[in-house]
């Protein structure tokens, strides 16, 4: 078991190296002279040279790369041009907001999509099967920012059920003392139920938006893999042995059908982390996505680079977790490792 974990960890190393090289190359690909870029339009030639030396841009590319990796190893992602603050600190303080939103969106989506896919597979041709097909085709066609705006219009403007789409908390509340950074959990730890409800209300619309977005691939995959499993020999054997339909579906089919679904989660996360940026912009969510968008508008490159790197590292880590989960569900993978 332990060797399998270690092997998986090692497999993530080439991905990480690739990610670091690409993010490094992205800064060096900045149009024109990076030193002139960082110095600003009004800088003199002398100032530009000074910045070039300070940034180490006068050194050969390979030395620059060494410095970059060294900085990264010390957790230094550079400073924001507009605020002068270290990027690493800012990303760290904003990460929980994004993580809370994305994870809640994924959980909601799994809770709806998996039962939907199973019901559709066990009752082919029924109303719920058609509903599943329509939802999964429409879901992939919906631009995530558009879904978010429609939800805001209906549930905030028309019905007045949801609070204004302006961040994680109503202005009258102050955030709970930080333990996990997740307001839902922290407010419960602090025993403040009012605060819990307030942050939950703010979360409902953006999390639903993300859930609708990721619903389609999960439902589609669950349905397809459940159909394949239900047609397989071992399910037929289980049925022929007189097991109850409930037992066959839940104990036998479900566990096997989940294997391809877990694999799809990697792709779902790729979409989800990207969609997160758009949803954060729509709901003024103070996460790392809106941090990157603000930096984009100000043509501030260091925060953007930090953001791309953070996202990529998180994605590599998520894929690692998915692989390990895969091994936990499917003992055959464990045996091979």
């Amino acid at each position: 078991m332990l060797t399998m974990f270690l092997k998986r960890m090692l497999m993530a190393v080439p991905s990480l190296i690739g990610v670091v090289i690409v993010t490094f190359l992205l800064t060096r690909a900045l149009p024109g002279d990076p030193a002139a870029y960082f110095a600003g339009p009004a800088a003199s030639q002398e100032a530009i040279e000074q910045i070039r030396a300070k940034l180490g841009l006068d050194k050969p590319l390979i030395v620059q790369f060494g410095n970059y990796v060294n900085d990264l190893a010390h957790g230094d992602l550079g400073n924001s041009l507009t605020t002068g603050q270290p990027v690493g600190k800012e990303i760290k303080s904003r990460l929980p907001a994004s993580a809370e939103l994305t994870l809640l969106g994924l959980i909601v989506s799994m809770l709806v999509a998996v039962p939907l896919g199973i019901l559709a597979a066990t009752r082919p041709g029924s109303l719920i099967d058609h509903a599943c097909r329509v939802i999964s085709t429409a879901g992939v066609s919906l631009p995530v920012f558009f879904t978010g705006l429609i939800l805001v219009y209906v549930f905030y403007y028309l019905l007045g059920w949801a609070p204004a789409p302006l961040g994680r908390l109503d202005v009258f509340f102050s955030p709970p003392p930080q333990v996990t950074g997740f307001y839902l959990i922290d407010s419960l730890i602090a025993g403040n139920l009012e605060l819990f409800w307030s942050s939950l209300k703010q979360l409902v619309l953006p999390a639903t938006t993300l859930a609708i977005f990721s619903l389609a691939p999960i439902a589609r995959m669950t349905r397809a893999s459940m159909l394949a499993v239900l047609a397989s020999d071992f399910v037929r054997t289980a049925r022929a042995s007189g097991l109850s339909p409930h037992m066959v579906i839940v104990t036998y089919a479900f566990r096997n059908a989940m294997i391809p679904v877990v694999t799809t989660l990697g792709m779902v996360f790729s979409f989800l982390l990207g969609a997160n940026v758009l949803v954060e912009k729509v709901f003024a969510w103070p996460g790392i996505g809106s941090f990157a968008v603000e930096a984009l508008i100000a043509s501030d490159f260091a925060p953007l680079q930090g953001f791309v790197l953070t996202m990529a590292i998180m994605y590599v880590a998520l894929n690692l977790i998915i692989d390990i989960l895969y091994g936990l569900i499917d003992p055959r993978v464990r045996l091979e490792a």
Binding site: G18, F146, L149, K281
Partner: protein, 294 residues
Amino acid sequence: MTDLAAASRPSSGLAALLRHSRYVIAENRVTGFAFGLFLLIVLAAVFGPYIVPHDPLASDTAAALKPPSMKHWFGTDQIGRDVFSRVVVATRLDFFIAVASVALVFLMGGLAGVAAGFFGGWTDRIVGRIADTIMAFPLFVLAMGIVAALGNTVQNIILATAIVNFPLYARVARAEANVRREAGFVQAARLSGNGEFRIVLAQVLPNIMPIMIVQMSLTMGYAILNAAGLSFIGLGVRPPTAEWGIMVAEGAAFMVSGEWWIAFFPGLALMIAVFCFNLLGDGLRDIVDPQRRT
């Protein structure tokens, strides 16, 4: 799989292909519907600027923020521009971005994948490594980084969209070229003295074209979504250009005060376009590869 696809493919050329296409479209109404939608989109992209009732860039502050009416079918935006005209005119740019990026990724990913699958060895390893590195990023995030680094232009949106789709194309092309590596027609071409490069371009590539075209049609929808998402966060297309993503972004602020039409109609157009491409891709796959039908 291949022999069935080959059997369904015509031996007598275009006429049989048309007959088969008509059969598939008649069989599957949804594909026919998607094909109709696609024609509508192409018409709007080609003739849009000549047929719209208003100038898409002309502002009229007296008529700002008017809800949909007979004069302005989709209402007017915050500076009085006609939303209907802007939505129609934007079709050309959005369609162009999607087509251009898909064509570009076909050139990059398709050729790299065919070479990787056919030659194997180092070519395969290098292409595989590049694809893996791209796949290590969440795709939209990588596209953001590329556009921000290369400069904020429409060309770079196209390039970034093509790059993030690269692994998909390279993998499909690689797998398809790999199974044809020692196929009879390849060996025949080799025996009659063709060079390896010539075989790749003249024999292998045309043979995997049907599958690549399905792939292109399936990724068109994603390409449009990706480009619109980038312009939604302020990358690429700049105001006052009419483009669906940026129009939704401009209308977003008015959603909370009830002027829903500014963001709704461009968003709807975007949704319909993506929906159409996805349906069409599924339909084309049925024509080319009936066995993979779901």
